[in-house]
Point group: C2
Chain length 249, copies 2
């Protein structure tokens, strides 16, 4: 098995290192990761600037490639010809912090995995509901086990498997749907030393949906969540409603 490993926290992330080390036990791996942290940028692809890609050594001395582009760029560049052959799987992560529910649309970790599926390579995205100093070991071990299953069970490019792992005391793994995160954003107005206002989009952490069967509930209850995520954004149920609107007037 040959696995392309990437992330959106950048080449220096301990989550990337732990993931690659765990995958090394089951496959040949190659790392192509962003040089900087793209979290919350979610930028899809760089069209108007050239990209650089250079060999680097990771913290354990192993070889990797670092790219100036976004997570999606890393995967596109790798699969469009930088790698000598097509990998069997793309694994993206381990993201520092969860990618649950609505967050999935904004996630660079998931965007990188998606780029794999758009180019015909099945993909998994892995995130840890913890901080930079968390133990990535259990999440990395699960990712490696899931990678083996994905290839054996012929995971298709119809979905990305979006995995979220609790930081501590894991009770098991479950298949989930995406929950709704209830954002509690607020506008914070401040004034600079010259009296001009500026704004922060602030507010408390979003509240998780605790409905049974959702990823948000699973992780809150100590379970690893595995959600099949697709990108077919047509809402079928609304098609008939809209047809009754007589758009042609």
């Amino acid at each position: 098995m040959y696995i392309l490993v990437t992330n959106d926290d950048g080449i220096q992330s301990p989550g990337l290192l732990a993931l690659r080390q765990a995958l090394d036990a089951i496959a040949e791996t190659v790392v192509v990761a962003p040089e900087r942290n793209w979290s919350a940028a979610s930028a899809a692809r760089t069209l108007h600037d050239p990209l650089r890609i250079d060999p680097v050594a990771m913290a354990d001395g192993c070889a990797a490639f670092v790219c100036t582009g976004t997570p999606g760029d890393c995967v596109a560049l790798a699969l469009l010809g930088f790698l000598p052959r097509q990998p069997d799987l793309v694994v993206s992560g381990i993201n520092i912090g969860p990618n649950l529910g609505n967050d999935v649309s904004y996630s660079g970790t998931v965007a990188a995995a998606r780029e794999g599926t758009m180019m015909g390579v099945p993909a998994i995205a892995v995130s840890l509901d913890g901080r930079r100093d968390a133990d990535f070991g259990p999440a990395a071990a699960f990712a490696a086990r899931l990678a083996v299953m994905a290839v054996e069970q012929r995971l298709t490019c119809e979905v990305v498997l979006n995995v979220n792992v609790p930081a501590t005391a894991i009770r098991g793994a479950v298949v989930t749907t995406l929950g709704r995160r209830v954002y509690r954003d607020e506008l914070v107005v401040r004034h600079d030393p010259r009296g001009r206002p500026y704004y922060w989009l602030g507010g408390a952490e979003p509240e998780g949906d605790l409905t049974e069967g959702t990823d948000t509930a699973a992780v809150a209850n100590g379970y690893i969540s595995v959600t099949p995520v697709h990108f077919d954004l047509t809402n079928q149920r609304w098609l008939d409603t809209l047809r009754s609107w007589r758009l042609d007037g």
Copy 2:
């Protein structure tokens, strides 16, 4: 009716101006738009930097607000308290260039509309399959007519209406699904004057899916497409398949 108008091409876009002028005929409008062009950036929200928002005059002298953030930031900032009251509708566009099929995930125009629905305000995204010097008039007129219908017919926040308008010879308007765009990307390798390689993600324009009923086919055939887009990314069909994988091993 009170409508928030925004876009992702920035405050200077002729598409924004044409849209606001058409909506002025049916509603009170307020423009909050990015100061720069965010096309293909698709960045969702600015979390780690403060935002500025300032009054400006558009090319026709009408008042508007310009914001340093992304399209999504503009909408969040407006709805979280910058506007004196909640609008009845968010209309985003008119984007210069189409947002069809898979492109929808990357579109700042659609992301801005989506931000409206996440905050409880129904939303429409409008794009023109043309260039900067195209005639935005027919697209703007359709947007205004659809805005009236959306409020009358009680469009909900379950979907965003994603509208794409052909540049010339419009034959009507149809309800569509998102097509698949077939990307023909390739990796272009060049060398700088010092001999170091750099890369472009290049390739021809994506080919549209011409399957009947898709937005790509509709616009190619001269019809305005109206697609109900949602952001529920769970693939229901894969849930049972995954349950058979015995993730708990």
